[in-house]
Amino acid sequence: MSFLRRAFSRRILSIGLGFSTMLMAPMAAHADANYYNEFGQRPGLNAVVGDMLKNVLADDRIKAYFTNANIPVLHASLVNQFCMLEGGPCQFNENMQKIHQSLGITQAAFNALAEDLQKAMRENNIPLSAQNNLLSKLAPMEQVIVTK
């Protein structure tokens, strides 16, 4: 009995492992340049970032952070960054840690901005897989953006 149980649980484990490798495959398969196209290239990104900043500046949770912000410069810079992250022909060389240090950015503020970005992407009908790819590139920046 216990041998059977052990054999069975080993099989479940290997199914689990097989499943996780299965998960990895399609993630690598999608070339980044396709995401850039799915965002509508530069004009599409311009629209998304524009709507995102509109959401941010109306967002009581985080608008205070942007009181003295130079919005057009921020807009151009974000378009560049998203363009580069999604495989577009752009350069973005900012040091995210340096830009955000000592701004007192909370995790909640970081997440609120992500929600404002998601809302903008939804409103611009960006395919979900492209939305999620951009989020997955931005999410690890929490480590350097949030003040700890």
């Binding site: 993630m27 599409g44 942007f66 009181t67 560049n80 997440n111 929600e115 897989s129």
Partner: protein, 359 residues
Amino acid sequence: MKKSGVHKKFNARHRLRLMAGCTLAGAFATPALAQTIAPEPPPNLAAHMFNMGGLITTGAVTDVGGASGGGIVPWALIGGYTTRDQVGGTAFYTHVFLRNYQLATYGGLFAISNRIEISFAHQDFQLGSTGNVLDGKILGALGARAGTPDSALPHALQLGNADIKQDIIGVKVRLYGNAVYDQNTLLPEVSVGYAYHHIENVSFVRAIGTRPSGNEYYVSATKVWLDGLFGHYTMVTATLDVTNAVQNGLLGFGGVGPNGPKDGYHVEPEFAVGYWLTNNLVLGGEYRFMPHYQLVAPGNVPGYGPLGNALSKTSNWKDVYLAYFPVKNLSLTLAYADLGTVASEKNQNGVYLSATASF
């Protein structure tokens, strides 16, 4: 698609100018950008502390034992929407309609800094008319003649249409990792948990040879890929449970052996997967191995032995669930749960409904 065609044309005409634009912005952004965001503190610290800063769906479904998770498996995620400088919590109600029984559970949890959750759950396992059926089976196993009234049973074994009531107090601590942010590594979010269970029907569990309270220890790892399978959020959880709970504690803790109580802990794996159909609708499944203990008396004891064998039969628990978040602070879970044989009644499967509110 029409849109991207337009963009392609647009891009062909403006590619050179755009590329020049990219480089220019790249070159000039450094000094300018440093002044674009003002170092303003959040306007209201108290409001911020309770502001549910976490991202939607992360940690806002409650498992049947009160910990944040899916339906029957605790996950590594901390319940509610707290971030590192916030406190919050959830309250939940779950009702499972099985073939012969119903399980009603309510409870809540308090979470601190997306680090610790302290949870409470009260379970009401309703036997309904099956209680009398079980009494008949017990009388039969003890060799009573047909038609013997239930009252002939030893008092502690009389079920009638009683409810079995269990209280669970749990604590879960996140050790490391963050399932949402850690997208550039394969490392999961890892938590350890402890739960203290107590059954209120003390004389009943003593009569079937188990203890009324028990401890459960677990370690859980949850990995979320934001751009997972086909570009959708995808979650895998593996939990290792150290427990001596019979049917998750509903029939007590431990069992009997040839030389008296046999309470040794078992190590049981549990698995959960989740696939976000949209960013607020999650489809998934769970599988939970359950420990097996001999109840009442060793199988070779006349009368009580066969009764023990019948009551001891335990199946692994599984479910398929659909969790929907109409708004961030409410989740509604519809599941099909299959608990197998419970207290000698086979095929205990049915609909599982659960709601969790976050604050």
